[in-house]
Symmetry: C2
Subunit: 326 residues, 2 copies
């Protein structure tokens, strides 16, 4: 996988550089503090996954212009805005291994810089000259803010179902990735069927991506994760690995799991015990299978496109969404 | 003035009812909590000043469609979003005489419902089918978030100049009112000169409106104001009446004023003393003159339009912006 990763990374390096350049030059704040606060998050090792997907999907649909890197920044700006607000709302400490923005710049500035980035994303969207792009961006923002509220409402609730979990990750993660892929087709004047295929690709990548991320909370270590191990659980966020294991377990094992989950200050030994039980009741395997199934669906959505570098890369991205940190 | 107010209120009653109806029916949340939080502020006696201006300006430019009430909600949604975030950021207690949203629904939900309302405004803007409207809405949001940051940065700074004050109120208040008026012209396919005239009208109304509001902090009582008397000052916000008085005063009077301003827990007697000094050094009169001058400029901008009810009402609104609570 590593060799492959390097091969594909080399293929997208020019795009990544172009996107990076546009992220810098289009931030366009009036105040230095806005640049400083936004940059703290924006230039802290984000993978530019969403803008890159937009650019690749545009290319797959034959985009001929030279403003794809520019347009793609809208997705990174929205992503950054929601991370700023979500970290604040969740009371998170670390993001990508660094202290979160609100711990440095304060909650007020962080709220307002998030607003600025949202607005900036729409300003960039307007440059596409296509109202469908604006509709997509504003719709996604409506969904994401509500997804985060939904997650807040369900925090600490042990009865959370798989359906409710899917509802949250649809809104919080999948719709933005879906929109990035779909907008790629839109700016390239792709056919309706192409737009719909890339929409499905993005949606399924989004689901797989979030599930892989949720697995990491139980399988990774702090260094790779860039935040504390079991961080989601400490915030009271129940994700699919645990939801499924809780559903399958019974008797003492189920009671043990619940007890550990309910005690937000669980010890490392308790956490290891929890992961062992989650493994025993198939929570981790089930989540891997679900993610793998979304990845298959995503890759199948690419079938209608003729072979190209962009298609190869998008197929690799699908596999990598799952394998990236495991 | 009261008789006049009732006359003009009757003339816009149908518009106000129409706007109210659209505000209710286009909020369109997925979650009840979003409706509840947004409604707490949205339906708490707001005057619908911004949407009404958009509707009147569209009419002045000959708008023939039937979606002006719908489109105008974008301005109230943005306004509400910024109030939710600003009250949180400022640590305000009361808004329109009611506890602020974050004291009831909590800061996390308030941040996210603000985001939702911003996105909703852009979704409504997209319905106009005009990218200029999107550009105006996103540009205004960029400005407003930065205006609030600017205000935060200058909080408690006694050296604030009139120029810095104007910079803050331009961004925090005037640009949104300006955009509402300008968008009225845009959706009506108004001529460039009409759009520019209404842009000037809105900008100057915005300045006058904020100056009148800042005067109220020193001349009104809690019941009329809907928040505590001297509330701006307690939050460390220096506004024009005080900035000008501080500039004109010297010696002991200036020291007395500074002492009271620096002590955020000033007594009622101290506050009365401060207002007396502000009066003595012309801070209140100067602010009234400045506001009156903006109102004249606003009314002059209407000269190019033929006589109509809409024009009469817009002229009255200009006078009323100044007189409304004094």
């Amino acid at each position: 996988m590593i060799g492959l990763k390097e091969k594909y990374l080399a293929m997208v390096q020019e795009d990544l550089d172009g996107i990076e350049q546009e992220l810098e030059s289009n931030l366009n704040p009036y105040l230095d503090l806005v640049r400083e606060t936004a940059s703290h998050l924006l230039f802290s090792g984000g993978k530019r996954f969403r803008p890159l997907l937009m650019v690749l999907c545009a290319r797959l649909c034959g985009y001929q212009g030279n403003r794809d890197w520019l347009f793609s920044t809208a997705f990174e700006y929205i992503h950054a805005a929601t991370l700023l607000h979500d970290d604040l709302v969740d009371g998170a400490d670390l993001r990508r291994g660094k202290p979160v923005a609100h711990s440095i710049f304060g909650a007020p500035t962080t709220v307002l810089v998030g607003d600025f980035l949202l607005a900036r994303a729409l300003s960039i969207g307007a440059k596409t000259g296509r109202m469908q792009v604006i509709e997509a961006l504003s719709e996604v923002t409506e969904q994401m803010s509500q997804g985060e509220i939904l997650q807040l409402l369900r925090k600490g609730r042990l009865e959370m179902t798989e359906e409710e979990y899917l509802d949250v990750i649809l809104r919080k993660t999948a719709v933005l990735i879906q929109a990035a892929c779909r907008v790629g087709a839109i700016i390239a004047d792709g056919k309706a069927a192409e737009e719909s295929a890339l929409s499905s690709y993005g949606l399924n990548i989004g689901f797989a991506f979030q599930m892989a991320d949720d697995l990491l909370d139980y399988t990774s270590d702090t260094q790779i994760l860039g935040k504390g191990i079991g961080a989601d659980l400490k915030e009271g966020k129940l994700t699919l690995p645990l939801i499924h294991a809780l559903k399958m377990a019974d008797g003492k094992d189920r009671r043990d799991m619940k007890r550990i989950v309910q005690n937000r200050n669980f010890s490392e030994a308790e956490f290891r015990k929890l992961v062992e039980l989650m493994n025993r009741y198939g929570g981790l395997a089930y989540t891997r299978e679900k993610a793998a199934s979304h990845i298959e669906t995503a890759k199948n959505a690419l079938d209608r496109f003729a072979p190209s570098d962009a298609k190869d890369i998008l197929r690799f991205v699908a596999d990598y969404a799952m394998a990236r940190k495991m």
